[in-house]
């Protein structure tokens, strides 16, 4: 499977979903699905993907908070940096 190309409509859509407001029903699952998209692009480290997986059933849980709590904020930073480079 060819990795998706950045800066496409889909890329921007997934980025919007990933950073969408915490809370709405289904948003936790949607964020995790978006995280998988960025993992496939080798933009998200596996540790962050796991954070999103753990938050996927909890729409009110902010993955960034959990990443900080779990001490994987470096991964979060890595992801944000690589995402910025691509966009």
């Amino acid at each position: 499977m060819t990795p998706p190309k950045p800066n496409t409509v889909e890329f921007n859509k997934q980025k919007t979903i990933l950073y969408a407001r915490v809370g709405p029903p289904g948003s936790g699952a949607a964020r995790y699905a978006a995280a998988m998209y960025f993992y496939n692009m080798k933009l998200m480290p596996v540790e962050m993907l796991e954070i999103y997986r753990r938050c996927s059933k909890f729409d009110d849980e902010d993955p960034n908070d959990l990443a900080t709590y779990e001490g994987v904020q470096d991964c979060l930073l890595d992801f944000s940096t690589s995402l910025r480079k691509k966009t």
């Binding site: 499977m1 979903i17 699952a29 949607a30 998988m36 496939n40 596996v46 993907l49 796991e50 996927s56």
Partner: protein, 408 residues
């Protein structure tokens, strides 16, 4: 006009009732044999078209509708290209139910609640949970398994296994023109999909529904609505048709009287369908019914020899006005009353099958629809032709052997 409609159908279907026909029904043992029920699930329900939902139940990308039947589970969903798709609702990892809710929207992807495998809306695997714990995966081998699906007049049909029926369009060809007039595909949901368990064998539900002989006795509202105009066409090549035209009387019952008053001509319907309720039976267990105000489907599935699930949904014209809405409400009231009456009849019919003293049906010409349905059953499973119950352990093998020797 009524005769025109009938003529149209007789041109393509031989609906004549034979002069001398076997008026017996299925033997009683067929209604309480667990081994037969398993055969029915495998050879009838999974191999014949089933109505899963209507396209309007899944209006936007990511909308889904689940459909469970006979230990199988399907998910019908709309993909980002607006295409309707049908998959087994089974994760390729451990077989978990992928979507738990009956209906809803997955805005981005489908996610297995067990371990978090993520599937795109086109069924391809986006990725497994904890991907680093797997060797390099060929994701194309782990997509959701599609189910055979066909949309006919807005209804989404699925078939879990290949079977003897042609496409739904081919099956329904005799009624294509008539059904198209209703613009069923442009209807929208009313109050969702209704299910209820009933303590009867599924065939007892069909046995009641496949004849109108009981209408005058059991359904005062329907009798008041279309009374003596009601008629049944038997199952021919897998489909039956019944209809009743409103009688010219005002209506003695409140709901019928007001329904007749409120029901108004629909611009899209030809004159001969303006005051008619029509039912298309689809072998083995489904019905699509149309009125000027609504289209609906109903069906039943076996759970156990003495338990079935009844499932139904009603759809309305998208642009109905207040009067049409009132008429639809009244039609639903008549229909609800009829369903309750039918459920009682199915219980009485089913309990007869458990009694050793009941010697079986002796059917009226007005019940030939029941016989024609049973004949269709016998064609698929010749074991139904045995008067006495075979040994449960040998039933399946005996049926196969009868099929090979052409005994129906």
């Amino acid at each position: 006009m009524e005769s025109l409609a009938c003529k149209m159908n007789t041109n393509v279907r031989d609906i004549a009732i034979p002069n001398d026909w076997d008026r017996r029904g299925l033997p009683g043992w067929c209604y309480h044999s667990p081994a037969l029920l398993e055969l029915e699930k495998e050879k009838l329900f999974k191999t014949h078209w089933q109505i899963a939902c209507h396209v309007s139940d899944i209006p936007e990308a990511g909308s889904f509708q689940c459909f469970d039947m006979c230990d199988e589970r399907a998910i019908i969903l709309r993909d980002p290209n607006n295409e309707v798709r049908a998959y087994y609702n089974i994760c390729r990892h451990r077989g978990s139910r992928l979507v738990v809710k009956e209906q809803g929207t997955c805005p981005n992807a489908l996610i297995c609640p067990f371990h978090g495998w993520v599937y795109n809306l086109d069924g391809t695997l986006r990725g497994p949970g904890r991907p680093e714990s797997f060797p390099q995966m060929d994701k194309s081998k782990f997509g959701l398994r599609p189910i055979e699906m066909e949309v006919w007049q807005g209804f989404v049909f699925v078939r879990f296994r290949p079977g003897p029926q042609p496409s739904v369009a081919e099956l329904m060809r005799p009624f294509e023109e008539e059904a198209a007039a209703y613009k069923m595909d442009q209807h929208v949901p009313t109050d969702g999909i209704w299910t209820e368990k009933s303590p009867v064998n599924w065939k007892s539900v069909r046995d009641v529904d496949n004849e109108g002989y009981h209408v005058a006795m059991a359904h005062p509202a329907l009798q008041d609505l279309y009374g003596s105009t009601y008629k049944d066409e038997p199952f021919v090549d897998g489909v039956s048709r019944s209809d009743g035209e409103f009688t010219p009387t005002k209506g003695r019952r409140w709901a019928v009287r007001n329904y007749k008053k409120m029901s108004m001509p629909q611009s899209f319907l030809p004159e001969h369908l303006q005051k008619r309720w029509l039912y298309y039976g689809i072998f083995p267990n489904s019905v699509i019914a149309v009125t000027p105000e609504t289209v609906l489907f109903y069906q039943e599935f076996p759970v156990a020899t003495g338990e079935s699930v009844l499932r139904s949904a009603t759809y309305r014209n998208e642009t109905e006005n207040r009067q049409q809405r009132a008429a639809r409400y009244l039609a639903a009231r008549i229909d609800r009353e009829t369903v309750d009456e039918d459920i009682q009849l199915t219980i009485w019919s089913n309990e007869a099958m458990a009694s050793d003293s009941f010697e079986g049906f002796y059917l009226s010409d007005l019940e030939y629809g029941v016989r024609s349905h049973h004949d269709h059953l016998r064609k698929v499973l010749p074991i139904y032709t045995l008067d006495d119950a075979p040994n449960e352990d040998e039933l399946s093998a005996l049926n196969t052997s009868m099929q090979h020797t052409g005994q129906t």
